[in-house]
């Protein structure tokens, strides 16, 4: 016991002080769109990214002269194929871990309207600003569950933000759903939701939970949680990085930590 204590003291503090930092160079995040026109140099249409995308997340509108492309992060599994094939630099890797949103349509990016002002969402649950108890229901391949588990390790330490994972829906405030919610889990998920007392909200964690991801379109009806229950926060990624998960949870809480994050970001931008 003493050995363990002295070992732990020797280890020091592993917890990261910087919150939701960008991913290191060379690590794949989700893609993002830039202002670069989506047309070949000779003005012909390029369709490489849409062809390469394994989940049909990319749509190309050919009628426009500049070349319009839209990208649905809710279907994107972050495989990076589109970034690899894009000849014009219209689609690039996005190292940001702050990718969660509150409205489904905010996940659909396009290169013709890059500066969508961030929608101001009216506060729903000021109750949960300081702490939130989450019930996690897994219906998928376990990657998102493991990243959520990793968010609880000493490096990310999700509990310092007041976020706890609880063992019963009876004392949960939010329901975190991972996986594509195929037929086998639909009844169990619904009854778990019913067992929660109001106010309650649902977080769709990972691309499968948002849209079904790679599993969409089969006989098992695996197309995400939204068809069954209303979602209030979407965390895209396959799986999302633990920081992305923490950011999404803070968004669901409307936590004060978020405003600190954005002011820091503004400062660092002003400095550069």
């Amino acid at each position: 016991m003493l050995d363990l204590l002295s070992y732990l003291i020797k280890q020091g503090v592993a917890t990261s002080k910087e919150l939701c930092p960008d991913l290191p160079e060379g690590v794949r995040g989700l893609p993002k769109l830039t202002e670069a026109a989506c047309k070949n140099k000779d003005g012909t249409d390029c369709n490489l990214c849409a062809e390469a995308c394994p989940t049909d997340a990319i749509t190309i509108f050919k009628e426009d002269e500049r070349g319009k492309v839209s990208l649905d992060l809710g279907s994107c599994i972050g495989c990076g194929m589109c970034v690899e094939v894009c000849p014009t630099g219209t689609i690039v890797n996005n190292p940001s871990t702050r990718t969660a949103v509150k409205k489904r349509q905010d996940l659909v990016l396009s290169n013709f309207n890059l500066d969508i002002p961030a929608p101001i969402v009216p506060s729903i649950n000021p109750l949960f600003r300081r702490s939130v108890a989450a019930r996690v229901v897994s219906t998928g391949c376990s990657a998102c569950d493991m990243e959520l588990g990793a968010a609880g390790n000493p490096i990310f330490d999700i509990e310092r933000f007041g976020i706890t994972v609880v063992a019963s829906p009876r004392f949960a405030d939010v329901l975190v759903v991972t996986g594509p919610v195929s037929k086998g889990m639909q009844a169990a998920l619904k009854s778990c939701h019913e067992a929660m007392s109001a106010p309650r909200s649902i977080i769709a964690l990972g691309t499968c939970a948002i849209s079904g991801g790679v599993h969409k379109g089969g006989y098992a009806d695996a197309c995400g949680v939204e068809n069954l229950l209303p979602v209030s926060v979407y965390i895209p990624g396959c799986p999302p990085h633990p920081w992305s998960i923490i950011y999404g949870m803070l968004l669901a809480m409307e936590s004060g930590t978020l405003s600190k994050l954005s002011s820091k970001q503004a400062k660092s931008k002003a400095n550069t």
Partner: protein, 490 residues
Amino acid sequence: MQVERIPSTFADLNVVLKERLGRLGHFTSIDGSQLIALILYPHEGKASLLEIPLEGANSYHSLTPHHAQLHWFERATYDMFGILPEGHPRFKHIYMHDPYEENFFPLRRVHLPENFQSPIKRHFSFLEVKGEGVYELPVGPIHAGIIEPGHFRFSCYGETIVNLEIQLGYVHRGVEKRLTEVALPRMHFIAEAVASDTAAANALAHAEAIESMLEIAVSERSKYLRSMALEIERLAMHIIDVGGIATDIGLLGISSTMGRLRGKALGLGDMLAGSRFLRGFIVPGGVRAAGRSLSNFKSQITILRHELKEPLNMFLDNQMALERMREIGVLKNSLCREFGMVGPAARASGEAYDTRQHFPHGAYPAMAPPVVTAKDGDILAREMVRIKEIWSTLDTLDRLIDNLPEGQTQMEVPDKLPANKIGLGVVEAFRGELVHLVLSGPKGEVLRYAIKHPSFNNWTALAIAIRNNLIADFPLCNKSFSLSYSGNDL
């Protein structure tokens, strides 16, 4: 891997299984008009596919009463194809429960007989243990922590578990069917999402299967990089599995240290593949290099080896931990063989079977580490195997990076499969033998994509090992088998 296709009979299969001429790698059907049994011959590094035609029939005499390892295979084959194993001792659905329509068999291509009526209900009927003082304890499908869903039905007498029946299938996503529907370049994204804790192993088994059909050999460098991905996955998962045992015992200091060190192992994945879960790295034709320098790789392994030593030693020195693991959840070698268990769970019961030694995948068998085994078959034995494998995996990674050949990492792959071919990938995932079997039709379309995840063999082991143990020991025993729900449910 090349597979020989042999027209066969039930009598032949009986002999192979009875005489243990080979291991049963898979047992299923192609379209509902035949049964196929994949037989692996570890010592020759070969495989054959026994094909037993049903000649228009829809049923056969169940083989389970004589060969217990077919128990789940026959149930799964009924779920997918509607082929009835008559006389199966515990015949019920495995993947498809209440929400599915009667008489719906997703992979069946031949017509069902007229007036066919399924003899079993979709609703799962659990084995009832009767007697004074016996009670049932239902757990799941949603569990208390952050884990995948499955239902456990314990029949207990006092605190002792008399019987455990496991109902899975809650995360059945229809992966095998999806894999026959999408174009070749998209397949590997689905294949690796079968179970993402095994993403690298699934991607490798898929790539090996597809490459054997296309008859292409990848570069030596690709082979080494693939093995590195597989070993990083094993390392990360073994570390977190030992951490999970520490959590359940209550050694929170060790479990949080293991959580932190797993992060370092995942960092190796980031370095190699640009993805913590090594997603999208191993593809048919080679690997997709992340373009990051591997110059720090070796020093990271050295640091990890150094950092792991102290917490692992403390874990194994802790009397409380040892008491919780010793002689609990014992899986006897005889039962282990009878039920065809694989991976660390089987090695902890004395089965020296590691596919890295026998079947070519990645840089194996040339770079395969020695097989780690233990005798006792209890939780402690499984953890000892796991911990020894952490060290052997670190050594293997060292050897792989030291001998990493130069060369290309990707080669052109046609976007269509050749006609009437069989592809096979057998990979040692961190849970054991993982099989991807692909059969193409006359137009190069995928007729059948069959996956056998190691957990499919090993779930039964948990139900056997927990008998006559205390209910309080179940979480620990469950964790020591480290089973995948999604890999089993497909």
